[in-house]
Symmetry: C2
Subunit: 434 residues, 2 copies
């Protein structure tokens, strides 16, 4: 008999037979009656065994079954207002498909709280908790929403190599690989490749893929392997791609709010859809705003300084919603960033959530000579970028783009404390397993 | 004025103004009239400059423009049956956005044939050819079709780590990484993680992601970085997931045939949708079939032998359509493969195209003791798999799954000679750039 998810059954099916499969979430033996709560991906079902009306064999099975064992139950659906989903199953057959050892490494009901590290060590068990599963159902749904958005906007999916010969930004935060006796690296960003695709005439491209950064950060908002959502678009300026970005963020919030009601309720959160357009402040205005506070920490700030995490926090507190910081100092941005008419300033932006930076983007340089001079000015060697620079020699459109961190988007939308909660099997300086 | 794609304009818009952007594909100066063919992602448009009726400035620009430069043209749409799309543009304004150097590294009209290696060296230019672009439009479309298929079938997307501590199958074909002074590897397959997700209760999962194999193959059908389409499904046997796989293949062919007419015509190919169910032959039948041919190469084959590339070719020639080879010798398959009642044989399958293997899958072992004994039997150390084995201790459903190579699917569907043609920037033993 075809199995069904617990959520596919409702009280109107009373009298019908059904087969359910899942985990033994709880067993309550009340003497005359035993309740077994079965859990599957979509919810819970109550299997009811009244001692007098159930075969002794079934009672024997249930007596010896351990919590979290996997079972298959076939029985008759009966209406029961008090049970999850408004129905119970009176079983004809119960088969144990896999016995669970005890003690369990974690409490899957979540009644006993565990540290994140302990949870990640036994991630297979941690993920059985509905409020953890909910994060990953939302993650899957968000990815689907983003891809549909790109499709509607005429973007083509690309897949660029993750094994590369050169650092994107010449930084040192690279993981080295041994590639058939040659030196290679894990890609930090699809940046150079998505720009090459502009020269290739793909016009508008997107990629959602892992990026790898060997940064020695040990914070709640950094990962060494993360998922980057990237676009690049020809004949667009930085305002154009900022509009795409804010529309995308609003669409994601809207869709999750509308379609993931159960998951949001499992997480016990509500989300507010941000209004668009997002507020835009220039880097210069951000510096002035910080200096205008009473906080002595910011009184020494000068134009050109990086905005530290505490600057970001203060701005987030003052602004209180998503916003863009635009027009960054040219020297604070990567070499491929287009300078404005005043060459000290660049046509660039960061998308900020009050808690942290989510995305970074800009108009790109498409003039080869300017690009080479910027690579030089950053102290990098243009020769290492030959494969990239060639694409600027034979007709390349003006273009703009951005990269958005998927885990940061999820973390801020769902109010997660630690970015690791948004990844199934996070990788950081200390963690390489599971 | 908002730019439009060439394909967004049709003769019914005659008299309207339009702005087009793209590459100078060709210029034909016939004395009294000059034709400039502009190319964008969606097609071609003819810009017509009759000497007597066009401003001298425009003629001057066109005279000095090089092929493959990027331009922006604003003009009036006029019906013209002989022009691409049935219209021409009478320009009011032409701006050169980026000059192309000459000579060009490749002929983007494809009239001059180039070797694949030369094409890949100047991939940005090669991709401008409509028949190359068509492959990647189809690739993008195929990925979208596959994801929608998984969504319809109740699968959840997962993203598993690409930096791992242990080889999936204990093989040696791994790229080593230096990970904060520890040894790590690039993931060969999401296999162990997608099985852990079965223990986590996700029921049905999919992932489309890069896989990395340090195999020293130098053939037209191997890549060292490829894209793997993976599923894993609980409470399903190997027949269940074979049905999903053949339905998916048929869906992809059907959708591409229906929705990618222009791209198929740019590639100058027709595709036939394969009938389902695909033919199934057991490994034993495959051996018998090969031995029954006159070919002396196969007369020495004995049960348990690998099927070499020439075996695959001969079977493909005899069968002539997609087929499954099932029930492989247990010892020829990875340790996680479920043996049948006769333990010499496994509940496994390969999906074959007449040209090559496309996918591989099986029912998986979910009994911990059997799994450990199979790891042992393969000469591997169960201790290295502790993070994986723990997930089998606390209730794990029976499950099955497969992995399908995206590039092989595209290569066989589109009749490409070399698998590298299905990747934007292929990685192989010799190629690490662009």
């Amino acid at each position: 008999m075809e199995r069904r998810f617990t959520a596919e059954i409702d009280p109107s099916m009373a009298g019908e037979k059904a087969t359910l499969v899942g985990w033994v979430h709880e067993i309550r033996d009340l003497g005359g009656i035993t309740f077994l709560i079965l859990r599957d991906r979509e919810g819970f079902a109550q299997v009811t065994l009244p001692k007098k009306r159930v075969e002794a064999e079934l009672l024997g099975i249930v007596k010896h079954i351990s919590r979290e064992s996997v079972i298959r139950v076939t029985g008759t659906i009966k209406e029961d207002e008090r049970a999850p989903g408004g129905y119970e199953i009176l079983p004809h057959e119960i088969r144990v498909l896999s016995y669970a050892d005890s003690p369990l490494p974690l409490d899957p009901t979540g009644k006993v709280k565990a540290e994140l590290d302990t949870r990640l060590d036994s991630r297979f068990m941690d993920l059985r908790r509905p409020e953890v599963l909910a994060i990953f159902k939302i993650r899957s749904y968000v990815l689907d929403t983003i891809r549909n958005f790109f499709k509607e906007h005429g973007f083509i999916e690309i897949n660029t190599p993750k094994i590369v010969a050169t650092a994107t930004e010449g930084g040192t935060a690279l993981f080295p690989i041994t590639y058939f006796n040659r030196e290679a690296f894990l890609s930090q960003s699809p940046q150079l490749f998505k720009q090459i695709m502009m020269s290739a005439g793909f016009d508008r491209v997107w990629e959602i893929a892992p990026i790898f950064r060997a940064e020695e950060h040990d914070t709640t908002r950094h990962l060494n392997e993360a998922t980057s959502i990237d676009i690049e678009a020809s004949f667009m300026d930085y305002e154009d791609v900022m509009r795409i970005l804010e529309d995308l963020i609003a669409r994601v919030y809207e869709s999750v709010k509308r379609e993931c009601e159960k998951e949001l309720s499992d997480l016990d959160i509500r989300i507010e859809v941000p209004d668009t357009p997002f507020r835009r402040i220039t880097y210069t205005e951000a510096i002035d705003l910080l200096k205008s506070t009473d906080n002595p920490e910011f009184s020494e700030l000068v134009w050109g300084d990086d905005l530290s995490a505490s600057c970001e926090h203060e701005l987030g507190r003052l602004i209180g919603e998503h916003y863009f910081i635009t027009d960054w100092p040219t020297d604070s941005k990567p070499y491929y960033t287009q300078p404005a008419e005043n060459p000290e300033i660049s046509l660039s932006f960061d998308l900020m959530h009050p808690r942290m930076e989510l995305a970074s983007g800009s108009e790109r340089i498409h003039d080869l000579d300017l690009l080479i001079s910027r690579i030089d000015a950053m102290g990098l060697n243009p020769d290492s970028f030959e494969f990239y620079l060639r694409a600027f020699k034979f007709g390349i459109p003006p273009h703009s783009g951005w990269g958005l961190g998927l885990e940061r988007l999820l973390m801020t939308m769902l109010g997660l404390e630690n970015i690791r909660e948004a990844v199934l099997f996070p990788r950081d300086m200390r963690r390489l397993s599971p």
